[in-house]
């Protein structure tokens, strides 16, 4: 399973996204606002989930801002930190 797919399943299960499947989530779809509709508290949860599932802590909030745009950007951030 790719990082993107894993992230989608984590989002659906851990954030209790109802009536939505992994296939419904576009890689480039914005996570917050008009995209997937997540909000600021979901962002906190997402930071925790990334740490719990991937062992990666988002320490630099500017970096986090860039990473938390979409599934694609978050997956790229995680993969980048893994290979660093």
């Amino acid at each position: 399973m790719t990082t993107k797919d894993k992230l989608k399943h984590i989002l659906i299960e851990e954030l209790n996204l109802e009536d939505i499947t992994a296939e419904d989530i576009g890689d480039e779809e914005p996570l917050f606002g008009e995209g997937l509709g997540l909000d600021s508290l979901d962002a906190v949860e997402l930071v925790v989930l990334v740490q719990r599932h991937f062992g990666i802590e988002i320490k630099d909030m500017e970096e986090g801002r860039a990473a938390l745009q979409s599934i694609a950007t978050l997956a790229a951030f995680i993969d980048g930190r893994r290979t660093a």
Partner: protein
Amino acid sequence: MPPSESTTTIDGRRIGNPLGHRIFYALIRVAGRRAAYALLRCVIFYYVLLRPSVRQNTLHYLRRRFPGHAPVERFFDSYRMCFEFGKVLVDRAVMGIRGPGEFQISLRGREQLLGLLAEGKGLVLVTAHVGCWQVAMATLGCLETPVNMLMRREEGELDRHYFEHSGENPYRIIDPAGFLGGTLEMLGVLKQGEVLCVMGDRVTGSARNAVPVDFLGGRAAFPFSAFKLASTTGAPVVVMFTCKTGPGSYALELARVIRVSRDLGRSGEAAAPYVAEFAEALEGFVEKYPYQFFNFFDLWNQSTDSR
């Protein structure tokens, strides 16, 4: 001071009109705080007597705090509450214009705060719209740790924050209208071991971020974001309230320390016990200082939609 274009709500800092505020600032400069209080009595009487919407804004709370009061008593409750609020606005301007030396401000619980900060996980300071929190927050400088405040300048606000008079801001402001409601910034400052101050009695943003808990005999909506941040970072939550203790004195009191369990989860229900602790502490404050509660929103009639 019957204004022609005044706004009559007292949600936050919109009461009065720009000229009225400038008159008060000038009076403070020329004649001092007591003269401003004297003018304030007349202005507040005008507003409470002739602007029903102002009185109405106080009644959400007063009906619950003094359920047995007759309409006449309630009128004077409204007057007193608005006058106390006006004094706080005057005091805030006095502090900015004439300097903090005008007031004696005591910090009760300093050693405990220093102990909590020494844990190195930051500190979530949850307060409320009571007393004069801006004046009292200035005392947090003694902690020698950066203080960050989640607050937003609303359109239409007329009154100035006290530091806007002097130009020196004692704390860094995090704007809840920023990216993701400032959440990432808040997480960042806590991870750096700093102090994060939030208002625990005002729901901003999504109704999903609030949970109903018991408060003054009813179910009132309070936000739980602060407790979620504490859960994520492991930071202790301290509930602190400011109160006017005399004509020229304020106190910032540590009311309660709340330890939030890690991995609280997204739901409001999980955070409810901690929010209830905050509400209980706030109830204790308004029992002691009934006319220093300046949250003019109807907390008991706000929707919540926590997952």
